[in-house]
């Protein structure tokens, strides 16, 4: 079966972002950008399904500015077969991304789409569920295990309190949690090979999708800063402070 893996370009997880002085957003100029870590896990899972002979072709898709081609190249170097860049310079909310992905699905007919559970910039945790809704497909979110079974998928999910198992009909949507796998590093030969793999370039208008945002960002502020407190010299002092100063135990 064909797989689609959406990958998002985000501020690298090691970067401590700074809020812009004019409160319009966060500083992203000259900041290291990477593939969303959950999407690396999604690509890895797709590549493993291909290595097991379950998947036949993997398409990596990214929506955003032209520079998203870098993240598609990373996916291609990890083992995806080809890429689609949906080029757009403005804000793309999860609903808009889901509509763009739906248009791609209608052209490509994948049986499975694997997304990250959340992007670490906007932290919406929404795109996969929204895409599942628009397609009328089942969803297996926060997956820590995915098995191909009885012509469908068995998905183990990380939920509050533990784990849960679902059987999904295909086609389906899966979103990845941290424990699904450990993504590989692309080898140098594979990075070289990835340069030759094709990336198709489309615009939202080519797909007939209106991506106008529904949310207006009025302002972006720093959260209240926490002051570093004091160091205590001993366990006795700590327990005394907790009992008599903070009064929390």
């Amino acid at each position: 079966m064909k797989l689609l893996v959406p990958v998002k370009r985000v501020v690298d997880y090691n970067v401590k972002v700074r809020v812009k002085a004019d409160q319009t957003g966060v500083e992203t100029a000259n900041v290291k950008m990477s593939m969303n870590p959950f999407d690396e896990i999604a690509v890895e899972e797709a590549v493993r399904l291909k290595e097991k002979g379950i998947a036949t072709e993997i398409i990596a898709v990214s929506a955003g500015p032209a520079a998203c081609a870098e993240q598609i190249r990373t996916a291609l170097a990890m083992g995806a077969d080809r890429g689609i860049l949906i080029e757009h310079d403005g804000v793309l909310e999860p609903l808009a991304v889901a509509k763009l992905l739906k248009a791609v699905i209608e052209k490509e007919s994948p049986q499975l789409v694997i997304l990250g559970k959340q992007a670490i910039d906007d932290d919406m945790n929404a795109t996969g569920q929204m895409l599942a809704a628009l397609m009328g497909w089942p969803q297996g979110t926060y997956a820590s295990k995915v098995e191909s079974e009885d012509g469908g998928l068995k998905v183990t999910r990380e939920v509050d309190g533990g784990l849960e198992r679902l059987q999904l009909k295909l086609p389906a949507i899966v979103t990845t949690d941290l424990r699904l796998n450990e993504p590989r590093y692309a080898s140098l030969p594979n990075i070289m090979k990835a340069r030759k793999k094709p990336i198709e370039n489309v615009k939202p208008a080519d797909l007939g999708v209106d991506v106008t945002p529904r949310l207006t960002v009025l302002k972006v502020e720093e959260p209240p800063k926490r002051q570093a407190g004091k160091k205590v010299g001993s366990v006795q002092e700590l327990v005394d402070k907790l009992r008599n100063e903070a009064k929390v135990i």
């Binding site: 609903l95 670490i120 996969g128 979110t141 907790l242």
Partner: protein, 309 residues
């Protein structure tokens, strides 16, 4: 305006994060709470202060919270409401974006503040920035960050409990089973005290050091991602940007370095204690009380000191 809340419960009562969602909802309009499961859970919802009406269903179709039938039902009920809310729990975050897309609206995830009926505050970039967003959608679909709203009192309400409608079964998924840990300890997102262990614990046996202190304090047990990935603690213990968000009165971080992703889940705690052998560890920059030392020496002393009155 009218608000519908999709409740979480533990089999007998609605959860504290659900009551936090009620607190957020009362700023928006009349509150109806939808409860799937035992009657006792619906009765508990009816007593929550600020709840005007409870809709209840014991239908097996909804018992396991499958996203496809639950969202189909919510969409069929949506015309009566201006806002659809759920706590930002694993269940709420799974269902609400699906509901939003079916209604062609942009979900607003994990709000930490209500400005007015259209405008909400939400943390972005692991809580390193707070965005105030205004929605132009006719209907709002929202998940609520429990740690940011004081829960509505569990008693004081006297809402009527009515039968919830039944929607179609999309028959797309089947619930196979679950392994939910039964614990005597308080729930992580509702606990007044949380004791968390990190990679430094070194093994799941050593993690008992954390559990033992937690039991002395009546606390919940948390963990860093590194501790969960290494198998020292179960996945549902993970505190952080991509785990659980907690804001207890007291958070004790043991052998945790204080990565941005971990801080995102606990830095709104009232009092933070850090125990780490590296005095440069970033966790000390948010700690009210820091103790530099080897946890394997400090923790037994800590437990002994707690035993003294």
């Amino acid at each position: 305006m009218a608000v519908l809340i999709l409740a979480d419960h533990d089999g007998s009562a609605v959860t504290q994060p659900t009551r936090s969602a009620v607190a957020a909802a009362t700023k928006l309009g009349d509150v109806t709470v939808l409860v799937f499961g035992p009657r006792a859970a619906a009765d508990s919802a009816a007593q929550v202060a600020g709840v005007a009406r409870v809709l209840h269903s014991e239908d097996a179709l909804y018992a396991n919270g499958l996203a496809e039938p639950v969202s189909a039902l919510l969409v069929s009920m949506a015309p009566e409401y201006s806002h659809l809310l759920a706590p930002a729990s694993a269940a709420g975050k799974n269902v609400m974006p699906r509901v939003a897309a079916l209604l062609d609206v942009q979900v607003i995830s994990d709000i930490s503040g209500v400005v007015d009926a259209d405008t909400f505050v939400r943390p972005i970039y692991a809580g390193n920035a707070m965005a105030t967003v205004k929605s132009s959608d006719a209907k709002k679909v929202i998940t609520v960050r429990a740690a940011s709203f004081d829960p509505a009192p569990a008693t004081g309400g006297s809402a009527a409990v009515e039968a919830a409608p039944k929607g179609d079964d999309p028959a797309l998924s089947t619930f196979l089973g679950a392994e939910i840990a039964k614990s005597e300890r308080p729930e992580l997102t509702a606990a007044k005290i949380v004791v968390s262990g990190g990679r430094a614990m070194g093994s799941s046996e050593n993690f008992h050091i954390i559990e033992s202190i937690a039991d002395k304090l009546g606390a919940a047990v948390g963990a860093s991602r590194a501790a969960v990935d290494a198998g020292y603690a179960p996945n549902d213990h993970q505190v952080g940007q991509t785990g659980k968000i907690v804001a207890p009165d007291l958070y004790i971080a043991v052998g945790i370095s204080g990565a941005i992703q971990h801080l995102a889940g606990m830095k709104d705690s009232k009092v933070i204690v850090a125990i780490n052998k590296d005095e440069e560890a970033p966790i000390f920059s948010v700690a009210d009380y820091g103790l530099v030392g080897d946890l394997f020496k400090v923790m037994p002393e800590f437990e002994a000191e707690l035993a003294k009155k």
